[in-house]
Point group: C2
Chain length 197, copies 2
């Protein structure tokens, strides 16, 4: 159900076509709620059917058209209602930690490769999060900039601080994961002997 609200969150910044949504999504909301375009298009349709969005057909080139979605009053209301209702707690589901608990079954080389892959993934992810956070701090983030236009300047600080707060949480998680992977690599070296090469 969160996908619906992730899309509403994005569309409150400005009306967009499905294609825009699926592109913008991967650069912002997807950092907290990933979804592929094959989920986005049908969900936009359902949201229009449910009255949360309304669409206008916009010409594109000579023959082409595209559909631009805008959030309706009902959509804003639904989003606000979701924001004010308690969050669902997600259950732990982490293949990396599952594997870590049974690492005595793995070949030392495979154990090392896993942890390195995990470390590299989080290193990259962390860099992306920090870069995005920086564009929030200096307000150059395109979606944020568009969003602030609807508000009085007195509200800007408040809006930006919440977004930075969310990224700070993601960055903490990424740092913790990274640090854990490093310790894991040291542990494998200690228990299995340093790699022979």
């Amino acid at each position: 159900m969160s996908l619906r609200f992730a899309l509403l969150a994005l569309l409150t910044s400005r009306p967009m076509t499905g294609y825009d949504v699926s592109k913008q999504f991967s650069q912002s909301v997807a950092h907290v709620w990933h979804a592929p375009d094959s989920q986005i298009y049908p969900e936009l349709n359902r949201m229009e059917r449910d009255g949360l969005l309304e669409s206008a057909v916009v010409p594109w080139g000579k023959k082409g058209t595209k559909k631009e979605y805008a959030v309706t009053e009902a959509g804003v209301e639904a989003f606000r209602e979701w924001m004010d209702s308690p969050i669902e707690i997600r259950r732990q589901r982490e293949p990396a930690y599952l594997k870590a608990a049974y690492l005595e079954w793995a070949e030392p080389g495979a154990a090392r490769a896993e942890l390195e892959q995990f470390r590299d993934h989080w290193t990259e992810h962390l860099a992306m999060l920090e870069a995005t956070r920086a564009t929030l701090v200096d307000r150059s983030h395109p979606t944020l900039a568009r969003r602030l236009e609807h508000y009085d300047a007195s509200q800007w600080e408040r809006i930006v601080r919440y977004k930075i707060f969310a990224y700070d949480g993601l960055i903490d998680q990424a740092r913790a994961a990274l640090n854990w992977a490093e310790r894991g690599l040291a542990l494998v070296d200690e228990l299995e002997g340093a790699p022979v090469d």
Copy 2:
């Protein structure tokens, strides 16, 4: 797909009935990979069909019977193969962080309630993880104790250290989440004014 391997991991400690699995599961493997019994029973059947498990019918009381599952050679092989293959990276999907990014839409009271609920959940979860970690350190964890029986004492240290390592990672994540929630509550107070009460 990880459920299958989570079950295999648990069943390598000793043969169990479906019921035992679903009970033990919630106290150990579920900390890294949660699943309800309605997923466990059908998956055990499929695993038997695929030759990873074999079952023996055991009498229970006067008329009752139960089915005890044991991991087959093929099951051990499949588990080892999974352990040696690269992990799938999970995509971010965190409703709490999604909401946090748009907290300017929430009523201050609702924002506080969310963060308090999140904090309380992680406080409780952290306590459970730390308690479980302690039973690994002193080797009183029942599943661990049964598992160690199959191994030479020289291997015990190695096996236990990996399990503690996994819990250390989970504990780090829980601490980071908790700390983030506390900072969030302070931020709400700063931006929306302290609660009137």
